[in-house]
């Protein structure tokens, strides 16, 4: 029973989230009102978008550390486009953001696939390159609220059926990814490549090509999040979303995505992001010292990793072990 619970990461995480919410509500009851929870989900939507992209990258045994830099660069570019041509419709801005993000993701993917540079090195490099480009484009200057057009700023806040557009993007991404991961060959390929690359090759899957697509999708999501982020906070600057890439990776790890690849689900990633989102939104309202805030977030990640390691250890290689023993 315990073993089954420990392996069902989603159930465990859902339980942890409910306990967390109960604890918070004892100190600040208004936190669990539906309107506030909707607000928390809205606030977590950019993290959900990026975590889903990161999930497929990690599934293929890679990592994408450039997501926050990609987000910041895309955000800066669309902000500059908006300043130069305030009349450009939001649909075009969205297209520009997603295209630009996709190109940056493809660049990462090509370096990993064709040049065969280790993924962590590639994305550490491009992370710095993308931030550097923001500096060159903007000259280090900010793009501020009063320079952005009202339509540009209004879009993520626009309500549809009671939910802001920002939340809808999060929901749509979850549905789309659930479909991709469970119903398409590409989704199966992500698991296969990370689970056992050699077997994947024999099964006719091109490992590098699959990784390239993982990066491309991650890039597209970062680009989309870039526009949403900049328009929501109504500011674009070089250090925008600084350190956010680590939060994205943390959401995946907490959600049960194995850093070794091949293991992880959309539901887990969603819950991992929500867990972090709740922690981040709750800590400010329940008067916890900022030093404790950092410690709590860190502890959540370590506990998750411990669970990951345990979950992985109980799995597999039983035949080999018994073979070793008999030998």
């Amino acid at each position: 029973m315990l073993k089954r619970l420990a392996t069902s990461r989603e159930a465990l995480l859902l339980g942890a989230i409910l306990v967390l919410l109960a604890l918070i509500s004892t100190r600040f009851p208004a936190f669990i009102t539906p309107s506030n929870l909707v607000g928390v989900f809205n606030d977590t939507s950019p993290l959900i978008l990026l975590a889903l992209g990161q999930m497929i990258v990690i599934l293929t045994k890679c990592i994408d550390l450039s997501v926050a830099a990609n987000l910041a660069l895309t955000g800066m570019v669309v902000a500059l486009v908006n300043v130069a041509a305030p009349g450009v419709p939001v649909a075009v801005i969205l297209l520009v953001a997603i295209t630009l993000g996709t190109i940056m993701g493809m660049f990462n993917g090509l370096l990993v696939w064709k040049v065969q540079i280790p993924p962590i090195v590639v994305t550490l490099g491009t992370m710095t390159i993308y931030r550097g480009i923001i500096f060159l484009l903007s000259d280090g200057k900010w793009v501020n609220a009063h320079e952005m057009s009202p339509a540009f700023k209004a879009f993520p806040r626009m309500e549809l059926l009671g939910l802001p557009m920002l939340s809808w993007f999060g929901i749509l991404a979850v549905i789309l990814f659930y479909f991709i991961m469970t119903r398409t060959t590409l989704g199966r390929a992500f698991y296969a490549v990370g689970g056992n690359p050699h077997a994947a090759v024999y099964a006719g899957i091109n490992v590098g090509y699959t990784q390239f697509w993982a990066y491309t999708i991650s890039g597209a999501l970062s680009g989309l999040a870039g526009y949403l982020w900049v328009s929501r906070y109504a500011v674009a600057y070089v250090d925008l979303a600084g350190g956010f890439e680590l939060e994205v990776v943390a959401a995946c790890v907490i959600g049960g995505v194995s850093i070794a690849g091949g293991l992880g689900t959309v539901a887990g990633t969603l819950l991992g992001a929500l867990f972090l989102g709740i922690v981040k939104n709750a800590l400010p309202v329940i008067n916890i010292s900022p030093f404790w805030q950092l410690a709590i977030s860190g502890a959540a990640i370590i506990i998750a990793v411990v669970f990951n390691a345990r979950a992985n250890r109980t799995k597999g290689r039983v035949i080999l072990k018994s073979a070793e023993q008999t030998a």
Partner: protein, 330 residues
């Protein structure tokens, strides 16, 4: 007649000879900033150029690293030593790390002062504070209190919990709270100088304290994010966001009414004053010792304390009446 002519021409030649060295070697003053491409520092450079024009015999070298690191500034300092500049006026990324490099510069006879963000006393001759911590602490609470004649609840949104300048300003603010009866500081939270975290903290403040009247953010990222959070929460007119910010970044918040006023030192004045001080010291017109008074042109005089540091002036208040004039400058 011939004799007079000869004397005159001799006098002219002599005059030229005496004047020539001063003409040939203008004082080269390097204005070293935390990072290039920052509107605040570019405005300071404009002030420095203004001072140079006024002084006549000064050449300004505006330089700095591309990101805010001490290492970057040390490289810049070393190259300035190699170029044999006459003075270095630096806004430091780190108070301690730059000391050895700046000591080396002083050993080569280069005048070294810090401004805006200081260097430890042994690494510079004079430090020019844009304002004093006491003046800033008083100003941030005054900005909030001025719009709350009947008193009210205010909260502070700072940068990081370990940011020295932020903590000192908040401390100074608490010291003068007695002068503003009816104003109550209900909380101090930290946005870590990140737009998203500051936004979330501001949201949290409004939830936890439904009667909140003002948010004081003595940090440029925090104040902008808090203003946006107030707009999104539909609390414009109810919660006033104030503190320290830049006019170009805060113009939207003033326009939307989320912020009635805010303050910052005027960077043009700061660059101007730093240049004036560096020039006076390099020329030997003033000496850097406790209690000394150094002229700063149109900004008056700087009086040095025991650490050879001084304050330029009160922070400058920006509101709807002057924001348009300043938002394009910095």
């Amino acid at each position: 007649m011939k004799f007079i002519k000869a004397i005159l021409s001799a006098a002219v030649i002599a005059a030229v000879c005496i004047a020539a060295p001063a003409q040939a070697a203008p004082k080269r003053i390097a204005l070293v900033v935390k990072a290039l491409g920052n509107g605040f520092f570019e405005a300071a450079a404009r002030g420095a150029e203004e001072a140079a024009k006024e002084l006549g015999d000064v050449e300004i070298i505006y330089t700095g690293p591309t990101d805010t690191t001490a290492e970057g500034q040390i490289e810049v300092i070393n190259s300035l030593i190699a170029q044999r500049v006459d003075a270095i006026a630096i806004s430091a990324n780190d108070a301690e790390a730059l000391v050895p490099a700046l000591k080396k510069a002083m050993n080569r006879g280069i005048t070294v002062i810090s401004w805006d963000s200081g260097v430890a006393p042994e690494g510079r001759q004079v430090h020019l504070n844009p304002s004093s911590n006491a003046l800033i602490g008083n100003m941030i609470i005054k900005l909030a209190a001025d719009h709350l004649p009947d008193g009210g609840e205010v909260a502070v949104l700072s940068a990081t919990a370990t940011a020295t300048n932020q903590n000192i300003w908040i401390e100074e603010m608490n010291k003068v709270m007695g002068n503003y009866p009816g104003i109550k500081v209900v909380a101090t939270v930290y946005g870590d100088d990140l737009a998203d975290k500051s936004y979330r903290e501001a949201q949290g403040l409004m939830q936890t304290y439904p009667d909140l009247d003002a948010i004081i953010a003595p940090t440029s990222i925090g104040i902008v994010a808090a203003a946006q959070a107030v707009v999104d929460a539909g609390k414009v007119g109810k919660v006033n966001v104030t503190g320290l910010g830049l006019p170009s970044e805060m113009a939207g918040a003033i326009e939307s009414g989320a912020s009635k006023s805010f303050a910052i030192w005027n960077p043009i004045d700061l660059g101007y004053s730093a240049t004036m001080i560096a020039h006076a010291l390099a020329n030997g017109d003033a000496t850097a010792e406790p209690g000394a008074k150094i002229p700063m042109g149109r900004m008056g005089t700087l009086t040095l304390d025991d650490d050879r540091a001084g304050a330029m002036s009160d922070p400058f208040v920006y509101d709807s009446s002057n924001i348009d004039a300043f938002k394009s400058i910095f």
